[in-house]
Amino acid sequence: MRLGSPELALLVLALPFVSFLALALIRPLRRSGRPAALVSILAMAGALGAAAALTWQAIPVARDVNPSVLWSWLPADGGPMASVGVWVDGMAMQMCVLVTLISLLVQIYSWSYLADEPPASLGRYYAYHSLFAFSMLGLVLSPGFLQMFVFWELVGLCSYLLIGYWYDRPSAARAAVKAFWITKLGDLGFVAGIVMLWAATGTFDFWPLFQAAQAGTLQVDGLATIMFLIYLGAVGKSAQFPLHIWLPDAMEGPTPVSALIHAATMVTAGVYMVARAYPLFALVPSVLMLIAWVGAFTALLAATMACVERDIKRVLAYSTVSQLGYMMAANGAGAPGAAFQHLTTHGVFKALLFLGAGIVIHHFHTNDVFRMGGLFRQRPWVGGAFLVATLALAGVWPLPGFFSKEAVLGAVLDAHLSVPFLMLIATSFLTAFYMFRVVFLTFFGHAHAEHHEHPAPPIAMDAVCRALAVLTLALGLRAALTGHHAEGPAWLPWISLAWAAAGIVLAWTVYQARAVDPARLSAALAPIDILARRRYFLDAIFAGAYRFLLLGLSQVIGWVDRYVVDGVLNALSAGALRAGDTLRRLQTGRAQDYVYGVALGVLLLLVWAQLG
């Protein structure tokens, strides 16, 4: 295990935070637009440098050394109740590099992509980006569940802010709220699980928990329930079925945001959390089995929905959901390492796909793939980069996607999860199919007659895409050359390649050679086709549950409040008023009646004196 220096880790955290503070508090700076962007980009570059230094200067240590450094946050008798700190092991350092790198590239890309935005909005955008980078890095470096939860929520907030960046668009505002609420649903389980774990063990911190788990001394009743609740947080954040419905709608945000948050970093937080807490999950195989099944099912489901989408960004969104399913399946199969590997490679080429899609959208002024075509002839470099990323996603050798997918499939097979394995194999076929469907429709075929001026893509966007393409190739070649072999059986790579090839061929047949009419194909697969187009009615189910259950419940509670709670109070006050009105009739204003009262009183006194 390699241990990094806590000071450098804190530097990595501090730089984006300082940038955020500067942009948030110094209004003139934020409103100036370009200078604000510059501040954020420079801070990010610094953070990347610090993360790289962190990785290079890490020292190898023995396995049982505590990789975390803690400071007391909520002091109490007998040790602090909650602590903050950093946990700097190999996985954390790799994530730091990934997050800072992709953030930097996306921020540079945004410089051109959002060039037409008013300066004040641009400053706001970069402030959100800095906050997001800080939050994600804090999440990754967390030494315990409490700190991780705090940053988890911050990341969710940033997602809301960035999806709803164009807040005056109703669809964007709705999408931001939907994302927030759906992930919040998962977070309910997360926080419940964390608190129950703390109640049982007395600590939030990973190191003591993992030590106890590995030594077999962790005595917690209902650990399966607790870990399931914690997993629910990952279900929401990493868009597993059924809480995946927010991710496609999140495409309302700017494309660079989608590249950063909904491909490489935020959505991977759930996978990261499960991988990080794996020693605890290992104690509850039933939950792991569930994670694997849900992951595989999510992968397949999302892939079917991607096949019928017209919007290029939505295809990529469903693709992300699908790949997240792969990662979670690997987690559930007992190979968090494979999951993490796929996480990092996917982060790189999915970001490239999104950013490339940004250039495509910028060129055609539409998201609809059926209105695109023939871009490769005009922009071969963009096409080349996009093709590299697509091949990586489809899992073709020697690109990194091939190796990481192989690792995942091998792990699932090793765990003897046959049905999930079959689901994942089918998914890889569909992945190749829908991605190449997009490629053929966008880059090849006939250009539709559009009379727009098509200037070259701005340098920043182009350069970032080329950089990512080079990185993808480099990762793949490194894996190929170091002889990185997965633990699976020998026939596995050939089978997965064969399925990928089949998918590519089918896509070529239908969309390039036009040999098979797509309509006839959908008709042949009618039931699945209809369901996929309707997104399996999940959105409707959620909306119905909200309207029926939640609103129904609030109406009941409202009724109780109005008629029971208020009713009691109103009855009391009405009773008091009525009593007052009745008693008031004693005050007739006639002196004789008062004398009558006095006489009665005297009589009573006399009787009482007599008796006493």
Binding site: Y596, A599, V602, L603, L606, V607
Partner: protein, 162 residues
Amino acid sequence: MTEIVGFCVAAVVLVGASLAVVLTPNLFHAVLWLAAALVATGGIFLLLDSPFLFAVQLLLYAGGVVTIVVFAIMLTERLVGASIRQTSRFVFNGAVLAAAVFAAIMGFVLQGGAVARPIAGGDQLRELGRALAGPFGVPLQLLGVLLVIALLGALYFARAED
């Protein structure tokens, strides 16, 4: 012997006149019956060996008060002829309450044992004078003040409306 006869006569007159005061519909007649009751009370005082008070009662009460009331009735002359049927709804209740109060007082009165009647003392008037000048001097002065205030009050009310 004479005392018993005197007492019975005075008592009968007193009670009868009182009932007449409260029951006559004609207010003027009621005032006259009141005069009779006050005189009967004077008689009672006489039986109780207080001739001075008998004189005071006749002068002030039977004389002064009755005169004032008669004047007041004449100044508010619309009232002659009001029939008892228009008396307030409390006739029955009032009678019951009055009877109850009487019964309660009786309870106390009849409880006490017989009290010996002491022999009538010496010159009552002189003693009275000495008491008024001596121990009861201050209340006497205050009474004087009260009368002045009452006079002023009555004068104030009697002034012409402007």
